[in-house]
Symmetry: none
Amino acid sequence: MTANRVETAMDAPAAARPKATRTKPAEVRLEELMAAAEALFLEKGVEATTVSEIVERAGVAKGTFYHYFSAKHEMLEALERRYTQQFLASLETAVSACGAQDWHGRLRAWITASVAAYAQTYRTHDMVYTNHHHLDRDNPARNAILAQLLRIIEGGAQAGVWAAPRPRMAALLIYAGVHGATDDLIASRAEAVAPFAQALADNCLRLLPPPGAPADGAA
Amino acid sequence: MTANRVETAMDAPAAARPKATRTKPAEVRLEELMAAAEALFLEKGVEATTVSEIVERAGVAKGTFYHYFSAKHEMLEALERRYTQQFLASLETAVSACGAQDWHGRLRAWITASVAAYAQTYRTHDMVYTNHHHLDRDNPARNAILAQLLRIIEGGAQAGVWAAPRPRMAALLIYAGVHGATDDLIASRAEAVAPFAQALADNCLRLLPPPGAPADGAA
Amino acid sequence: MTANRVETAMDAPAAARPKATRTKPAEVRLEELMAAAEALFLEKGVEATTVSEIVERAGVAKGTFYHYFSAKHEMLEALERRYTQQFLASLETAVSACGAQDWHGRLRAWITASVAAYAQTYRTHDMVYTNHHHLDRDNPARNAILAQLLRIIEGGAQAGVWAAPRPRMAALLIYAGVHGATDDLIASRAEAVAPFAQALADNCLRLLPPPGAPADGAA
Amino acid sequence: MTANRVETAMDAPAAARPKATRTKPAEVRLEELMAAAEALFLEKGVEATTVSEIVERAGVAKGTFYHYFSAKHEMLEALERRYTQQFLASLETAVSACGAQDWHGRLRAWITASVAAYAQTYRTHDMVYTNHHHLDRDNPARNAILAQLLRIIEGGAQAGVWAAPRPRMAALLIYAGVHGATDDLIASRAEAVAPFAQALADNCLRLLPPPGAPADGAA
DNA sequence: GATGAATGAGCGTTCATTCAT
DNA sequence: TATGAATGAACGCTCATTCAT
């Protein structure tokens, strides 16, 4: 609701406008706007959130929004970029903590960290990815995450740790499976995250049989 | 003017003049409307499609839409119901074609039919499911499909065909994996559906080890 | 809600239409329609009541409404006419029960009967009269009622029972006062109708001083 | 484009192009809008007036209306508030011009000012009050006016100037009578306002007999 | 840098009325 | 007599965006 809707306009004796918000570093303003938008996007969805609400929560005027973002969808994209970077980095950190040749460990770490990160941020995750078509091959976030996983699967295969005749298919099964199963975990609140992640890793590792096992389609 | 009619001279407010399209069986009209809506929802998304466009494509007046659907979202729900029934039925048919105790066959059939059905209808699939939150445990379509798969996994486990210490987790991995991997197949157009589905089934069956294998966490 | 909105259309297996309503005497149909409309107009107001609701409550089809009334506002007018006739008749009966020269009695009877009738039917009264501008000199109902009262006032004056230098003003004061005060009685539910009507009549009679009293403006 | 602006190449959805009317003081715009609405509400009724017509007459865009009023009914309420304040104030001024103990004078002043004010603004009056149910005890405007009159009647009674065994009933008779009779004056255009108001006051004062007169029901 | 008044195309929805059957 | 599918103009309202200050 704008400040000068009748009720107000008629009752309040015209006072000198306090002009509260002083000029702040652009960085700070940007962050305030993004925080306000993220909270609202999470609460009520991207479509249902209006620019008016964002600026109201951020405590700035409408025009200020357009100083920092050329359009509403730019805000969403900025949020997406920020989120993806954080998500990728958390996986990278977990994987890097394992020995360079400990491929089982690296894969387990990737899965466990994925579950943990996703369980924590699934609302943001959903918000960010619902706006891309599932099939969008150019979705840079999905591609970056998938590439990370693929590097592990192919690394282990080259090192002879497991067989991966179709590494991309394995990566997709793990990637999609991790998110689908974690959705269910969250929705059912049936157990703690850590043991769930362990079991999930066990299951996923089964997808990568020891080298020398009969190839797919041979059975 | 009938003899009984109560009359008074008065200025008549704006009158309606229905003329163009003749009455058709309700079934036909309904189908025309649903077809128009489905096509548009697919082309440009549900939000971006207006009721005006739907009726224009269906060749009827706006009021006719509201004669058959009480609101735009009712149309989406009708489309969802119809799609889910068809999808479920096609899986059921494929599974039922296998012997009642041929659990490997049944699971392969479920996976293969899922890939095939989804590869054909992924656009409708996406359209329908994007409107539910991923975590919506009450999404009846997802639940029905998952239950179908779970019955097979538990049936095979009881028959001693495979071990399934966590049947729901296995079901979720397969369910999500099938859709995730098929998305990639469709997007990359890298190979034919049938061999892809075969390989996918091989991979998924690996998630269900022979009975007596070491349980998760034991390795 | 129409019978063939999707939910129904998809679930109910097409049955032979019972075609319940047999042809009825026009009189009966008309009365059913008017009763349905009156009830709805009272419940939710004239504007807020739709023709669809009227026919639904009357148990007939939309088209039937237009067999009996050429437009929605004709229905309101028919209801008005019916109500006014009843109201006038009830006053006339009460007044006629007094001796032809008992002018005090006649006026009291008119006032008492007005209060009683209005207290019983104020909802219909409001519904009917809100649709005329207060100033509508051509409102036949108001004119008929006022004329009835005026006849009493002038009759008493000619008979030398009271002075009425401005009979129309007196009539207006009584007419408006009776309705205004009864509104308050109804809204406050503060006392029984009969004693209230008595006191009201006492007050109103004071407006008609004995003959020979100083005329207005002389004081 | 500022340096801080977050940019991405994207198809811009339908853009707005505000151009025509320049910014004016909110007070002025508000007044223009209210004047346009009042005129139209008077001309064709509240229901029959559309927001489109209001903005067209005010010479602004539709959105501007909603910048100042959150809904059409807010406009009506603002008009009501403004009108009631003016009406009450004009009565108060007239009454205050009489000596504090001149109760006959105060009551005459109230009646005379009511007639004058109502004769001038009856169209607005009707417009404003038609939107409240007659019986609405919580109608703040009616209550405020009635309370003003009641204070005079009770003041005179306490001062021994007249008897008022039922002050509220007397107030209601006067209040309703003044409006009802003035309606008739206006509709008939039969005489000047001032003498009519005099005669009306004479009549109304008769409702308040000298102290010691027989109480109601005693006659 | 920051503001906020102003914009207007476009939305989903309503409902009195018509008329072929 | 009775039906009900079909109509379409019109409604109140939204909101991303612009730009003079």
